[in-house]
Symmetry: C2
Subunit: 441 residues, 2 copies
């Protein structure tokens, strides 16, 4: 946490010339989502219960954790007709907005579909790669205040575009509260079945299957520490997406964007929760002061003011740097989930950016547009994981198989090389298997 | 485990018409790589030690677990000159075979390189995806009997093709024993630096960095239960590849391949270790009997006979099925790491195969050719994880960033939709950020 406590406003002001800048930045960025032994123990128990006792354990744990009183999985199952009903019952404005968002997300993700390929060598040997969809995907949708219909679209549509045959969604209903917008989004996104369960028990049901819940091949979607711990535990049994940390934005400004726009862009990140992180970097010191003033001016007008204030105080920063190059270096070091290039010529900065989940270019591209309806996915790598991972995409719901088809001549030639290498590894069955294909003539 | 104990030979004979076939097959396939609480506890301690005490802890744990007596990381570091020396010192036959394998692996993986792309909408809004390599990759190579130079090629070459700037390899040297072939392969594969450390301590060093070992962005490569547990624990801090189970092959034969060839293909899998799994499926009962006879005949001639026998007894099977369709259904149910289509017309079976790590087509394509030098990767999803994961590839060492560049008009149009959806989620800072970009005129 940045501790220039005295005389600071809501958000910390840093400069890359501060003596302790590196340490302060590290502390600000630090985030550890690791669960402790006690959480792991509880999650292990829940996983074991659902794995061994199926529906009965799923009903029990749902009653306990979501404060329900149901007696069977039938009461925790929604079919397509119910999803359609939610969709048809929406006000026209919301229904149209959801439909437009779904259509744009679908169109973008169609561009991600890879092709199978193969090539033939001179001796007739064929090598290639075949791309196939997963049979069944599981989408985890958080309940309560974080139940976002946009997340349903962003998680389910790529699966649908990938050609997944069956998409199963789970969403807890704490105290029995259903979110109609979430169900409507599920309808639009091509979800086949919804179970109103959540937590580690829902992850267990998707990973192992129960009498009612079909076992899936991959589980995607965000959740609390129990969900994240359960996903980590079942990884290998099923595929999982990244384990998400709090959401973050890095705005890189050249000083030419309206400070009130930038303040609101930072707020839009900070309003998610108190651990969300909003950082602005600029080489224009006066501009930074203007953004800070806009923050102080607009903050009292915000509906989620307490959350925004806590987030900005705890994890936000306005960072003054020397120039564009230093700003770029900072962006690559932070590897932000969202990177807003609020500059005149974002194209000139793009080649220098090595790590970012999504890049929002120019003064008009507010992150919020990407969150809902620009088309690209809003499920993005957080906490610096953009160093090695990608937005959720069609590729997360497909897998590849290598294809090798040796001609008689190809096998004979390769057999000689394989034999030498296998014998070098003392694997003589490998060697003899290869040697069987060497031509004797 | 298959328990038709009485009167059976080395390997179980099953039929899809057996009353208990489903149960028997499930038991045969069952594999759980999950580590118990005690292993997790020990791994957590090692991770903590290396994270907090760096090189000092890495030296201590290496001395303890690999029975060494070194006093500094300098003694556990090999530079490129040492790798080259290993390469130049090899017998010509091995050097040539390694070079040919490396060249073919490189050529195949070049085909996997994806392109960045973008498209422009009518109002000038640009959407796209930018592909960039990881900065730094860590390759884990097991020591001792499982130190395979071919694995070094298969893990490091895709990273090199992907454009990774720095490739760091770790390989333990139990009792100080170095494998020259492994070092030579590292040289050929473009590895930049080697640390002779292993186990959870090596994973910790790569994940967190120490004074000597640079922190990497992703760790790939197989290892024992401590390595697998450590990789699972650091997942999120760094990227990891799949957690591998024992290696397996499913041979699907139409009865036309020499039974001795097939016996040797099964042996080549079984010789890896006692948990390796070799299964043959055919709709030709006489042929199955011939393969079984070949197994019994050839087994006593094998150098690794005890391992092969144990593997076949414990996890092997010859399965009689009704026809090609049933064989295909079995292949998809098992989702094997290696699938050998030892049939006359493998092309006709290919469209029906949904899940397999690598598909070896026709009588000439022994799996061993793919293990060493055909070109595709031999790091493949095991234990049914081909349902949702892919061979190791160039894509494992790259990541994508979404690109959104809204025109003024595009932002205005999208802003209206985003505003409706954001207000539906009660995220009013999102809504106001989007509304700022709506044209007032």
């Amino acid at each position: 946490m940045a501790e220039n406590a005295e005389s600071r406003g809501t958000i910390a002001r840093l400069s890359t010339t501060d003596a302790d800048f590196d340490t302060t930045l590290e502390a600000l960025l630090a985030w550890e989502g690791v669960s402790d032994a006690q959480v792991r123990q509880r999650v292990d128990e829940i996983l074991h219960a659902v794995r061994t006792r199926g529906d009965a354990a799923l009903v029990e744990t749902s009653n306990r954790f979501d404060r329900l009183s149901v007696s069977s999985m039938a009461e925790l199952t929604l079919d397509k007709a119910r999803l359609r009903q939610a969709h048809d019952g929406l006000p026209a404005e919301q229904r149209d907005a959801l439909a437009l968002a779904a259509e744009r997300i679908r169109a973008y993700h169609e561009h991600q579909k890879p092709e199978s390929w193969q090539y033939t060598e001179a001796n007739g040997t064929v090598l290639g790669q075949k791309v196939t969809p997963l049979d069944r995907a599981g989408i985890y949708v958080p309940g309560g205040k974080a139940a976002y219909p946009s997340s349903v679209l962003m998680n389910a549509i790529p699966a649908h575009v990938a050609g997944v045959s069956e998409i199963v969604m789970v969403v807890p209903t704490p105290d029995g509260v259903l979110n109609e917008l979430v169900l409507a989004a599920a309808y639009l996104a091509g979800v086949d079945q919804v179970f109103t369960v959540g937590g580690a028990q829902a992850v267990a049901a998707l990973a192992y299957g129960t009498e009612s819940v079909p076992r899936v091949d991959k589980i995607v979607g965000p959740g609390n520490i129990y969900v994240a711990t359960a996903k980590r535990a079942v990884f290998g049994q099923v595929g999982i997406d990244m384990i998400a940390g709090p959401s973050e934005i890095l705005v890189l400004s050249d000083g030419g964007t309206d400070p009130e726009w930038l303040a609101m862009d930072l707020f839009s990140q900070a309003e998610h929760d108190e651990d969300a992180q909003a950082i602005l970097v600029s080489w224009d010191a006066d501009h930074i002061a203007d953004v800070e003033a806009a923050i102080e001016r607009l903050l009292p007008t915000m509906e989620r003011e307490p959350i925004i204030r806590a987030s900005l105080e705890k994890r936000g920063a306005l960072i003054a740097c020397a120039d564009r190059e230093e700003a770029l270096a900072l962006a690559n070091r932070i590897a932000p989930e969202h990177l807003e290039l609020s500059v005149d010529d974002p194209e000139s900065l793009l080649p220098g950016i090595r790590h970012a989940g999504a890049i929002f270019m120019g003064r008009y591209t507010a992150e919020a547009l990407g969150d809902y309806c620009a088309g690209p996915n809003h499920v993005l790598p957080t906490s610096g994981t953009a160093r090695f991972s990608s937005p959720l995409g069609v590729y997360d719901f497909q897998k590849r198989s290598s294809i090798i088809h040796c001609s008689a001549e190809g096998a004979s030639t390769l057999g000689r090389t394989a034999s030498v290498l296998a014998r070098g590894e003392s694997l003589t069955a490998h060697a003899r298997s290869a040697e069987n294909r060497i031509r004797k003539d």
